[in-house]
């Protein structure tokens, strides 16, 4: 029998620490750079850019939050509390907008709402010539695009809240003589509050860190400004300062979201579950509901998708489908595969240790890995760029630096699939293997890995597709000759060559659909 003293540092622990370090180090460097900047730069930014950028960012987030709240809650309520023909179809199609990268939706809308575009044409038929609608390249344009793209977050969370809510609460209200509508306002909505808040916080986080739509619509937010500072200035000081602000802002919303999510768990427990009664609507109600949902789904997904298809089959677009195009496709694919694999390999030890041995150190590593959430694409790019130029300039301009940025940025998405897989698996299974004479390594190989495999694959697919869609970090860090589909969409669409951008955009949307199905199927069953 071999005996040993308590092992202090296992290889697994080292791997987790290295992973967490890889993520925290760049963030630390950016922070250090921002904080050590000349106070003159700070005060210059405070007097010039920062107030406007903060105002733009926060006001965009606020208006998007309000609209997504209305859209998300109303659609979720209709889907869960009303029975009408085609309900199941709508239930699924309301999440489709999540498959549209923001920059794709933004570019479609800059055509639709643009000067002399189809919507303006229709509007002038109604309101007379010379009448204008709002420009897509404005606060309202950015609000519309972001809201259409992100309301499914609120929809999904509200939907599961409504489905898992104990109907007895509502019934008690009805028994106490409260009307149907005031039951909704006085009982249902307050009970949904934590879920809605979590959904809205998620939306805000998404808006604050979005680059694609705001760059396409030329709406100045902090994230966009970081990108502009990085590409327009010869040093990164100002970009670091703006990044730090952005990280702090995102952190606030992330913590809010976490806090509400925990509360929503608390709200939803207790009582036996019974599925809610759905009210049947007649033909009149049905047509109103169908019209409403149809409007939302077509604005957020169907219409843009059709336009992309139409543009893709145009002769101009067909002419771009040459070997170069497939080169972009291949670049996207291999980059995404590397990033996803790297992410899973780095995420697994971190998630494992935090779940099995929740020491302060291991939990700290896990939290560090979630830091990617508050690092919008340009900031992640800036962070690795600064770090690599200081520590390992060899990799500058190579794929490695890009992959590191992807891993940092998308590890949270991967961890969210890995963690439940590990939590789902009873630690007893590993202990059983140990009592059956297997060492740690064999236990991992024969028990842990096979059992987390599905979570593992899910994490991989999600990170793969997120990477495939990624824009700002790719723009900033791509090596020579490494354009991806997303880059092509951005480059063509930002010069308003709509047709030329369409095939790449369509391909990204199509590839996102299966990932969306994977992502949603978790939520679907959980509810």
């Amino acid at each position: 029998m071999t005996t040993f003293r308590h092992q202090l540092v296992s290889p697994l622990q080292l791997a987790a620490l290295a992973g967490a370090g890889m993520i925290l180090l760049p963030l630390g460097y950016v922070t250090a750079q921002a904080l050590s900047a000349d106070p003159a730069v700070w005060s210059r930014l405070w007097t010039t850019r920062i107030p406007e950028l903060l105002f733009n960012t926060v006001s965009l987030a606020a208006s998007v939050a309000v609209i997504t709240l209305a859209l998300g809650v109303s659609t979720a309520w209709l889907i869960t509390r009303v029975e009408f023909p085609g309900r199941r179809l709508w239930e699924g199609s309301l999440v489709l907008p999540l498959a549209m990268p923001t920059y794709v939706l933004a570019y479609v809308y800059s055509y639709l709402l643009g000067f002399g575009g189809p919507v303006e044409y229709l509007w002038q038929l109604v309101a007379g010539p010379q009448s204008r609608i709002f420009s897509p390249h404005s606060y309202w344009g950015a609000t519309l695009v972001m809201a259409l793209d992100t309301f499914p977050f609120v929809y999904l969370l509200s939907r599961s809240a409504l489905l898992s809510m104990n109907v007895s609460f509502e019934e008690v209200a009805r028994v106490s003589g409260v009307s149907r509508s005031s039951t909704f306002w006085r009982v249902t909505l307050p009970l949904m509050r934590p879920s809605i808040a979590a959904g809205v916080a998620l939306v805000i986080l998404y808006v604050v860190s979005d680059f694609g739509a705001v760059s396409m619509l030329r709406y100045q937010t902090l994230t966009y400004a970081v990108f502009q500072q990085m590409t327009g200035r010869s040093d990164n000081t100002a970009a670091s300062i703006l990044s730090l602000l952005l990280v702090v802002l995102a952190l606030i919303f992330l913590i809010t979201e976490r806090w509400f999510r925990q509360r929503s768990r608390f709200y939803q427990t207790g009582g036996r579950y019974r599925s809610p009664e759905r009210r049947r609507y007649g033909w009149f109600g049905t047509s109103i509901v169908t019209g409403y949902l149809g409007l939302i789904v077509s604005a957020a997904f169907a219409l843009p998708a059709l336009l992309l298809i139409q543009w893709s089959v145009s002769p101009e677009a067909q002419a771009t489908l040459d070997s170069r195009f497939f080169g972009f496709f291949w670049n996207s694919g291999t980059l995404a595969a590397c990033a996803a694999t790297g992410g899973v390999l780095i995420g697994l030890p971190i998630a494992y240790l935090a779940n099995r041995r929740p020491t302060l150190l291991n939990l700290g590593c896990l939290q560090a890995a979630y830091a990617g959430y508050v690092l919008p694409g340009p900031v992640a790019a800036l962070a690795v760029l600064v770090l690599f130029t200081k520590l390992a300039p060899v990799f500058y301009g190579s794929v490695v630096i890009l992959i590191v940025a992807y891993v940092i940025h998308f590890l949270p998405a991967g961890l969210q699939s890995l963690e439940p897989a590990l939590q789902h698996m009873s630690p007893n299974l590993e202990e059983a293997a140990r009592t059956l004479g297997l060492g740690m390594r064999d236990t991992w190989r024969r028990v842990t890995l096979p059992l987390v495999r599905n979570g593992f694959i899910l994490a991989w697919v999600l990170m793969f597709l997120q990477t495939m869609k990624e824009l700002p970090a790719t723009l900033l860090l791509r090596p020579v000759g490494f354009d991806t589909l997303a880059i092509r969409v951005w480059m063509e669409a930002s010069e308003e060559y709509y047709q030329l951008a369409a095939p790449s955009a369509l391909l990204i949307v199509l590839l996102s659909l299966p990932a969306l199905a994977l992502l949603v199927s978790k939520d679907w069953r959980a509810a």
Partner: protein
């Protein structure tokens, strides 16, 4: 999850080792991608948009058999990148849309001074660096594009007129990150001083409001559609637009030609050979190709720019070069003017 289920047929070990293999192979292969690629083709960092430069480079490849790898991005971003990459850079040449950026790269010691007769014969000295570390290839002017149905050409004499409140919501301008806007503002500063420049910038900021574009082609488009009346762009975007849509109601107005005026703001797109290039011969060959008559003609015909070689004619559609006056600030001064210009732009809060 049909996808996951279909994968579950594979043994986990196969999948895991597959992942590991893929990852290792990917990293191993790509971590040295720059040097691997640099082995054969010329690598060019280009701040000019791919659409404008790629046809010229394709023609070079067709003529010489030397293939070209192109990285198109922002000019400043590429100069930053060259600085960061140092000797390890895969780049052989840097092409930009702005002489100031080239001069900054030269001052940072990134460029290799060329000693080539062909260059010295072809390009006048005012369009080259003092040591020939960069060479101008084509000239462009910052002009006002206007919609003929909305504006009379005599309504605008100078760029500074665009700051007039009567053009509120009627002008479109490039974003502050664009190097030719920075160069233009530098020349206005050098001519009129900071205070007047500040007023000008504040005026166009208010007048343009949200009409701030990333690409000049979008500005021309907006003017053509009548979305705005006027725009500030590099001249060739207008002619490129007209070449495709001859009926577009737009025209070029060359500003600041009045008595004692500043003169039109000129800039050049240029090229420099990167100091650490390992393909000096091929790189020189490209420079030679671009300054030769044939190369200069490509810039004139495809891009509607003014060729810098005296013996090559500009596109006949363009305003005759001799008919107007250019600003007198030397291009190489753009480098030292840059930083205070950026501070001013930021203070005004231009987007």
């Amino acid at each position: 999850m049909p996808f996951v289920r279909s994968l579950s047929g594979l043994s986990h070990r196969t999948i895991l080792s597959g992942f590991l293999l893929l990852f290792a192979a990917g990293l191993g292969f790509w971590s040295f991608v720059p040097s691997a690629l640099a082995a054969d083709p010329l690598t060019i960092y280009s701040g000019r948009s791919e659409r404008l430069i790629k046809p010229v480079l394709d023609s070079f490849t067709a003529n010489t058999g030397i293939s070209v790898e192109l990285l198109s991005s922002g000019t400043t971003e590429l100069v930053n990148r060259l600085k960061a990459e140092g000797d390890r850079t895969p780049a052989d040449l840097l092409i930009t849309n702005d002489a100031g950026s080239l001069e900054l790269a030269r001052m940072a010691g990134l460029l290799y001074p060329l000693n080539m007769q062909e260059v010295e014969q072809a390009i006048p000295t005012q369009f080259r660096a003092s040591d020939n570390a960069w060479i101008g290839l084509s000239g462009r002017f910052w002009v006002v594009v206007y919609n003929r149905t909305m504006v009379q050409p005599n309504q605008v004499k100078s760029l500074l007129d665009l700051a007039d409140p009567k053009w509120k919501n009627k002008i479109a301008i490039p974003n502050s990150g664009s190097e030719y806007l920075q160069a233009g503002v530098s020349i206005i500063r050098a001519t009129h001083g900071d205070e007047k420049t500040r007023q000008f910038l504040q005026g166009i900021k208010i007048n343009a409001d949200s009409q701030v574009y990333q690409k000049s082609s979008q500005i021309v488009d907006a003017v053509a559609k009548g979305q705005v009346a006027l725009g500030i762009v590099n001249h060739y975007y207008v002619y490129r637009h007209l070449a495709v849509q001859p009926d577009a109601p737009i025209a070029v107005l060359i500003p600041d030609q009045q008595e004692g005026g500043m003169g039109a703001i000129m800039n050049v797109a240029g090229i420099g050979v990167v100091k650490s290039s390992k393909h000096l011969d091929s790189a020189k060959q490209l420079v030679e190709f671009l300054v030769a008559q044939a190369g200069q003609k490509l810039f004139a015909d495809l891009d509607k720019e003014y060729p810098l070689r005296q013996d090559v004619k500009a596109d006949p559609a363009l305003v005759e070069r001799n008919s107007f006056r250019a600003a007198t600030i030397p291009l190489s001064k753009l480098a030292e003017l840059r930083e205070p210009t950026l501070v001013l732009i930021e203070q005004v809060g231009l987007r």
